[in-house]
Symmetry: C4
Subunit: 263 residues, 4 copies
Amino acid sequence: DGEAVYLDRALDRPARPGDSHKGQFGGVRVLAGAEGMGGAGLLAARAALAAGAGKVYWHTSPEQAKSALIAQPELMSTELTADYVPDGSIHVLGPGLGQGDTAGALYRRLLLDDHDARGVLDADGLTWLARFPKPVHNWVLTPHPGEAARLLGRSTKDIQSDRCQAAMELSERYQTTVILKGAGSLIAHQGRLYFNHPGDPAMATPGMGDTLAGLIAGLMAQGLGAEEAAKTGAWWHAKLGAQLAQRYRIVLATDLIEAIRLR
Amino acid sequence: DGEAVYLDRALDRPARPGDSHKGQFGGVRVLAGAEGMGGAGLLAARAALAAGAGKVYWHTSPEQAKSALIAQPELMSTELTADYVPDGSIHVLGPGLGQGDTAGALYRRLLLDDHDARGVLDADGLTWLARFPKPVHNWVLTPHPGEAARLLGRSTKDIQSDRCQAAMELSERYQTTVILKGAGSLIAHQGRLYFNHPGDPAMATPGMGDTLAGLIAGLMAQGLGAEEAAKTGAWWHAKLGAQLAQRYRIVLATDLIEAIRLR
Amino acid sequence: DGEAVYLDRALDRPARPGDSHKGQFGGVRVLAGAEGMGGAGLLAARAALAAGAGKVYWHTSPEQAKSALIAQPELMSTELTADYVPDGSIHVLGPGLGQGDTAGALYRRLLLDDHDARGVLDADGLTWLARFPKPVHNWVLTPHPGEAARLLGRSTKDIQSDRCQAAMELSERYQTTVILKGAGSLIAHQGRLYFNHPGDPAMATPGMGDTLAGLIAGLMAQGLGAEEAAKTGAWWHAKLGAQLAQRYRIVLATDLIEAIRLR
Amino acid sequence: DGEAVYLDRALDRPARPGDSHKGQFGGVRVLAGAEGMGGAGLLAARAALAAGAGKVYWHTSPEQAKSALIAQPELMSTELTADYVPDGSIHVLGPGLGQGDTAGALYRRLLLDDHDARGVLDADGLTWLARFPKPVHNWVLTPHPGEAARLLGRSTKDIQSDRCQAAMELSERYQTTVILKGAGSLIAHQGRLYFNHPGDPAMATPGMGDTLAGLIAGLMAQGLGAEEAAKTGAWWHAKLGAQLAQRYRIVLATDLIEAIRLR
């Protein structure tokens, strides 16, 4: 049961009517400040900006925040603290988050206490979800096979032996949209299953997942629902990466972020 | 009453005679050091440099100043302090300024005490003006509709229902040149009203206003009067943004800054 | 005795099968934190990333680590400490390493104590090897003539008078793959000798050796053996540099790093 | 008396024989660490690197040094201290030097005590020379008209009224090569006078002088004498700037640095 559809055309990215102003394009907050992993948060924040979010905040350590000034002065930054209270922004929780106390407090606040907080849960965020599982219908999950295995309490090999089944089961168990990453990623949502554009092995490089998480969050900030944002983000991520792979043997996340903004 | 003119051609940017030296092209000082908002000041300073100002200082926190070295080594930086005494430079007061004590002291010094200080008042600078209103004939005001509403004590909806009237009223009340931003910005000065180039919705992104403020300041530093600088800056900002929008779905402020320098 | 072969064609860089993920492409760790020489480590790390390594860590001082966030957010960083225990990663030991206590402790740990640690030994790493010589069959050595002289206890002039002999002797004495740098570098391994692509004098610039070390490490991380990685890395380094020299009178290391990723 | 020659053709930049290595191309040391003026030293160091110097050190504050890692990882940095003892490097003394105690100590060491120290004296370095004048035959002087006036104890207007005379007099009084900057710069050396390429008014921007100083130092490091380096550096600086001015209304120092390396 469940339908399976190939995403074989460009899904429309959010339109911009003639009288737009940035206040209409929502806000993204990337919560990420673990030492030595600052690049992950910065890549996610830059991807959200490139996707067209009206405002992008990077919550991080004061030390890391300074780098945003140079790498992307259009970003705003603020200190990552355990007492952050979610607003209407779309959150990216996971890339560069770590497993420390502040990370745990943020996971509890956003996922367990606040029933309206929304966003993308990736990387360390998925580790927290595996430790404290619950339905997370406001959050897009973007596990790679190892993370999927932890979320389902099975082995990675098991996940890979039937990826369709695993994606569907993740979506059902966590009652939300799931992108199961890997060569040929799958999107599952309420019994529907989508096969993404295959991308290219040149994209098997560090930071690509952080970029996908930020891109999807940027689309959600502009009003796309979780399912639509996941499909659109995953498709463009793979499609643009494959285009870049015609030029580069090794496609880096920063290449992809530049490409997101192109017509 | 009042004439309304479409700015439908390229206004001339300041000429550079054959025997120019940078001392002839004036100085710009961007006063901005609020934590987490450093990008705003940096974008304004870079835009002033790209516009052709002979010398551009960024007054900011020592921490933020270091980023200028890398992002744009042609800038100079100095610590933002409450006891700054204005010189003949053109000031940008607002982007990344904040609402703290130093900001307030600078507003008082430049706007209330010193009748010769000149520049562009934007963002937080306009908030200070709304709190302590006065005629500011030496300063170009660049409010978006929400800031305009605060400056006139009315609602944003009210401003947007008759933008021409609002721009004219702002210019009259504050006795200076006003750019009312939004899709199709308006420039008002002494009973004259100009409709700017429409730009493009791809420009509805963070930092675009900071870039406009710096660009206008850079033009004033080269000798253009407030009205001429506002018209010229607003027109090129919108025109270049629309050109970039043919290439980019999302135009960022850093793209625009690069484009300012092109022939 | 010993055969001599001209590397006169493009050696294949590691293939990427269609179902690749970054976990298959190994890890590189650049151990380098000497004050004022941070660029060397950063260049090596960036080259390893460009070569296609799945994960690249820069072990350095916390101060230097911050720069990675901006220069290359795809890198991860961690503090360089004397108690680092080697894992299965490919190491770059030398560029920006220095001659301090931490450097000495790392040399002892990786070269003297741990018989499985592998990587590339360059620059300061070769100075340590000259002080505490031993067979290092897991490590590619990349000396320039001066370093080769120290490693053989002879004069630089002597090395240059018979470079083939010197390369073979180094390889035999240290029982490993050796690249003897200089105009027309030589690769020696188990009695075999290879003449590299000649490169171009435009490449005689700072940081080129660090880039070569990182490139070779990146290839080893993807599964190439020491001999194959040395040949492939040295050939592409010289070939790409010579291509860039058609455009640039002075080819910089950062140019070369960008070129490594091109198809 | 004295001959006057138009530099109307491309002067040859130093050749690079086929068997070059970076050790043959000399070293440059930029001594510059004044707070808020770090960009000047960084631009000079980058220009020296682009000119082809084999090794470029930036002596500066530890805070500023970190920026080199990101802006140009091929540079090396070390702390600027008053007890620096000159080696055989070519020095850039002036851009971003300041008028503090360390600056004064360095001026005394390099200019008054050490009769072999060589390099380029610019900006603040020329202020020190005006305060403590002496023949400086090892140093190229690069004053703008205001600095020339101070060095000759006359008015700027006076200098500009007969620039040829001023350049010759400066060269004679200080017994060295002098570039008198301004629209149409002049090079004077031992009674010979050269009219430089006119450049373009688009080059009247901050940092251009720092770039010229670094470029000349880079040429001296590669073996050109003071007169030849001054002529070659000034000519290429103006010529490349004029070429860039066909593309840019405002040419920035960073543009020029990139262009220096092109064939």
